[in-house]
Structures are given as C-alpha cells and as structure tokens.
Point group: C2
Chain length 342, copies 2
C-alpha cells in the first residue's frame, strides 16, 4: 500500500463573481495505486488559465463544467513514478489534464503529449509556448485569423500567455502588431522585448483613441481575449473583410449577470467581418504540427516566452485570481513538485 | 431637346427613427440627353430594400451613404429608349442602380445585367428571385452558411424577399428549415406554399421557446436578417461549429442610439460559431453563376417567389416604410412605368 498522501483541490462551490479560495476544498487522501493499463504520475507543473473560471461555473460551455466535489480540472505536466501501462515507464515526462492534485493514475491513451528523451527544452516551455497556450496562439491566429504580410493585427491581453505568442507569430508573418495590456511595464515588455510595434495600456489610455493612432490603416485581424469595451473599440476600426478570432472574453467571465454584446455589433455586417469562436482543443489532431513549428521558432530564437511560477499546490486557488486582476505576466503555472534531473 | 420631365426623389434629410416622406424631396427636371457612350433608360421597376435605411443614414457602412440632395439610391430595371452607347440599343431591358427616378442616362459598363432577348421570365422575377435579393439568398446561404443535408437552418424575416428564397434553397440542400416571420398569414405561406418545416410568428410566440420546440437538434445555420432579440434567441440554441450569416439587422436600423449586441455573445466562443458579415455585392463577379442556378431552379418549379408591387414613383417614400412595419410579403417593388411588350 502506498503511504504517501495525495492532496487534491476539489470544487466546493460555483463562484459568484471573482474566484474565492472557499470555492475549493483541499482534500488529502492516499495516493492511488495504478491499475493494469495505468501509470502513477507525480504532478510537477499545473497550468492556471482564464478558462478555469468557465469550467467552475455551470454556464453553457464548450466542455462539461467541473462537477461539485470533483478534482478541479487543469492542464498538467508530471513524471511517471510507477507504471502498469506498457507504453509508459518510470521517469517518462508526460502532459495531460489530470487536474489540481499531487498525483494521478493515468493511461497513456488519456495523455496529451510526452516529452522526448533528450529534449533539452525547459519543462516550463512545454507548459507555455509549446503547450496549450502556444498552440492556442498558433492555430487561432494562423488558421482563423489568416494574417497577411502588411496587415495590422491587434491582440488583447497581449502580455498574457496566449497574447504574447500571438503577437510574435504575427510579427513573423510580416504584420504590424498592436497589443493591449494592463500596465506600462507590460507594454514596455511587448514593444522592447517581443517586437510589438505598439502597445496600449488600457488602464491609462482611451483604447479607441489609442487604437486609432496606432492603426492608421485600420485593423485586419483582432485576436480577442478580452471582449467588452476592448472588442467594441476594435469594431470601430475594423477593415472590410477583417477577421476576429474570438478566443476569450475574460472581461466578462466574472459577471454573474449576462452582459450585452458589443454595441458596435452592426459593424460585423457593414465591414463583412468574420467572427470565429475558437477553442484550441478542436485542433487536437494537429497539435504535433503546431508543436513542431513553435519549437523550431523557439530554437531559432524567434519566440520569447515568460512564465510566472507560483510554488506549491496549496497556493493554486489564490494564484488563479491573478489572471483576472492583471497581476501576472506570461504563463501562470503552479510548481507542484520539483523537476527531475534531465 | 427632350421635353419630357424626369421626376426624381432626392434625399432631403437623414432620417431619425423611421423613414418619413419628408426625408425626401420630389424634384422635377428635364429628362437628360444621353452623352456619347450613354443610353437613356426609362425606369420600369424600382427595388425597395431594408438597406435603403442604412444608405440614408451617415453611419459607418458598406458603401458611401447617399449624400443630401442626391437622387436616392436603389436597384432598378428599365428599358433603353435612346442610345449613344454601341453596346445598348432601344428596347433593351437592363438592370442597374440608377435610383429613384423616371429616367437616367447610363453607360453599359455601369449596368448590372441585361435581360436576354427572348427571355420569357417575368421582369418582376428579375427584380426578386433572380435579382439582388435572390442572389443574396444564394451566395449568403451556400457560400457562408454551408448548409449540409440533415442540418437545421433558421431564417429570420423569413417571408421577406431574401428569407423566403433562403428557406427554399436550404430545403433543396436537404435541411430542416425553420422560419421566423411577423404574422400567421406569412407563417402559413412559409409552411404550406414554400415547404418550410416550421414557422414562428414572433409577434405571438416566444421566439426562444418556439425555436427550442422546432429545432430539437439545435441550430446549425442561422441566416440572420433581423438581429436584436431574434439573434439572441438563436444564440441560445446554436450547435458547435454553427454558422451565422449576418445579412441584415433590420431590428436596429431605425435606432438612433447604438443598441447593444446580443447578450448571448459569449456563445459564439463556447460553440465555436462563425459569424460572417455579408453584403451581396462582394460576389458581383459570380452573379452570372448565381443567376443561372436560380433561373434553373425557378424553371424547374423548385423556387417560388412573391412580389409586392406598389404602383407609382410618387409612392416610393411611403412604400419603403412597409419593410420596417412588417406589412409586406416577398419582394417590395415600385412600378414606375409600364412594361414594354416582350
């Protein structure tokens, strides 16, 4: 019998407004023993994402909501400690969705990715630029946004895990890139480190006026992570045949009451805009292609990424709130246990 | 010198709320003499369309607004009376956009279509099912909506010139078709004459509840002519990967204040919906293809159409209001002068 303890954050309540720590309950139980066909995985990194807020609610959504009492859902990376699955062996580093807990029993068929032996890329890169958020940027921008050289691309939540990669990929396509973020520090990072042509601090500037100034040729692609007034400002400046990749609406996730859609909705008609709702898991079969391209750009020094690592599973409920207050920059991760030597 | 008089409705004021007769001014002047390269055309039919309201306003729109003092813009069909354009000869029946007037001098290069000699199709068909509204239905539904057999298609303003053709084309694709219209008479027409599977009278029924009942498999394609609450109800029931062809937003054209977008906007994200703004003139180069297919269906008895013909150019300003009150059924036309013998 396994005597180690598994800590798991289970959903205790559906949040009203901002996520509170009391919406979760930390439960300790024995580490489960893997059944035939399963491996025991120890969590190293846990991904925290704005979409966690959606999963916690019971609004109509793109996956079943997390049920009350269930372990909170989340992207994870971990190391195999014990295996009864012939496809997995101790020491293998794998990625999956086993959620907010120290350990889990998984079958190889339920995993998302395995880090190749000899891969020297930092594991945090696999949880950011090469992981779900990098893939979201890659498929959302290129497949749905279809940016062409010379076009103007606007990215909201531009200093976030997705937005920061979107902007850099758009630059690689030869576009003019304007980011919208929540602090001068973030804006400086976008323009001086990541190569954005301009960045707008939405807390200090009128977004519409600033967009008008920074997008003299109008907007051809909007990678929308925020919604609300940000999207409305974009709609004032969209060009004919522009594309809005609707990837997130973080401005409204905490609203208990349904908020209205953008007031300039009619511009979608007038400018023949395509608005495409987008969830990265729809591209699951093409993840290997996306990872390969992102890894190549990363290795060539063409993509930079930043991670914001919070230590300790016990801090996950507090840390997730940072995504909604604008406190974090880059990909927010919880380090649940130490990385193994590689 | 030509002694006949040309009456022309010129835009006198930008409307506030519903269109009023005083927004136009009827001006009488001499019929102009065609210059070299031009022909004099006598208007037979004038098309009245919801988009007239947009052109009269100065909101940001898909074409330049009509300028105050200019002849009101409108789709037209007429007969050549005199020609100094070698490509046109007296008796030719042509279609164009010479607007709300008895006569105009046009060049063949500025025309939209010429009715072939020997064509026995009623001229009103060329101004409806084979004209701009039929083409709007054809390209919007098939190119942007991409309906597949077995899918559910919802059409708003379904008894209108566009909606009634959309629904019939969707039936030809093997879809389940549900129309939304404004009277029991219109609903009966849709189901008994045009083959719609169901029709909802939005003045008597709760649209969301009725859609839920008539779309047990959810909604795959929405051909949206109305917007507002109708669109919001549709968004409650859209399936994953559904398509919303945003062709019109007649519910809001008369609003002076910007109205909010649909409250269920977030469902575009959750259900990965594509919302495609659409103006038929973007398909100008493919009009011959569209006309040929529509004419074939019409000749095979697979498409029915209805026209609502108001007699007399002097009645155009009053008649256009019918589009916004729901008084008319099918394509609204003004007969400006008699058809020639054919």
């Amino acid at each position: 019998m396994n005597e180690r303890r598994n800590r798991a954050w289970r959903l205790a309540a559906r949040p009203s407004g901002a996520i509170k720590e009391s919406d979760f309950r930390l439960v300790e139980e024995a580490v489960p023993a893997p059944q035939p066909g399963e491996a025991l995985v120890r969590t190293i990194y846990l991904s925290l994402d704005p979409t966690n807020r959606i999963w916690m609610s019971d609004v109509d959504q793109y996956m079943p909501p997390v049920q009350l009492g269930d372990v909170m859902r989340g992207g994870t990376l971990g190391v195999v400690e014990q295996s009864h699955d012939p496809a997995l062996k101790p020491g293998d580093i794998v990625q999956g969705m086993w959620g907010w807990q120290d350990y889990a029993c998984v079958a190889s068929s339920g995993l998302r990715n395995r880090i190749a032996a000899g891969d020297a890329t930092p594991l945090t890169a696999h949880m950011s630029v090469l992981g779900g958020t990098g893939l979201t940027a890659y498929f959302g921008l290129l497949d749905h946004g279809q940016p062409k050289a010379g076009e103007t691309v606007v990215v909201s939540a531009a200093a976030g895990a997705v937005g920061s990669i979107v902007g850099q990929i758009a630059k690689l396509q030869g576009c003019r890139v304007v980011g919208i973020a929540g602090s001068d520090d973030k804006c400086r990072w976008l323009t001086t480190e990541l190569g954005f042509d301009a960045a707008i601090n939405y807390r200090k500037e009128n977004v519409l006026e600033a967009l008008r100034r920074h997008c003299p040729q109008g907007i051809d692609v909007d990678f929308e992570n925020v919604g609300g007034e940000t999207l409305d400002a974009v709609l004032a400046l969209v060009n004919n045949y522009s594309r809005i990749v609707l990837c997130g609406l973080i401005a409204t996730y905490n609203d208990d009451v349904k908020v209205a859609g953008p007031a300039r909705f009619a511009n979608i008609l007038m400018k023949r805009v395509k608005v495409q709702g987008f969830i990265v898991t729809d591209f699951l079969k093409r993840f290997p292609e996306g990872r390969a391209q992102l890894a190549q750009w990363l290795n060539e020094g063409k993509l930079k990424y930043q991670v914001d690592v919070v230590r300790g599973l016990e801090n996950a409920p507090k840390a997730v709130g940072k995504l909604f207050t604008g406190e974090n920059k880059g990909k927010l991760l919880v380090q649940v246990s130490d990385e193994p030597p590689r």
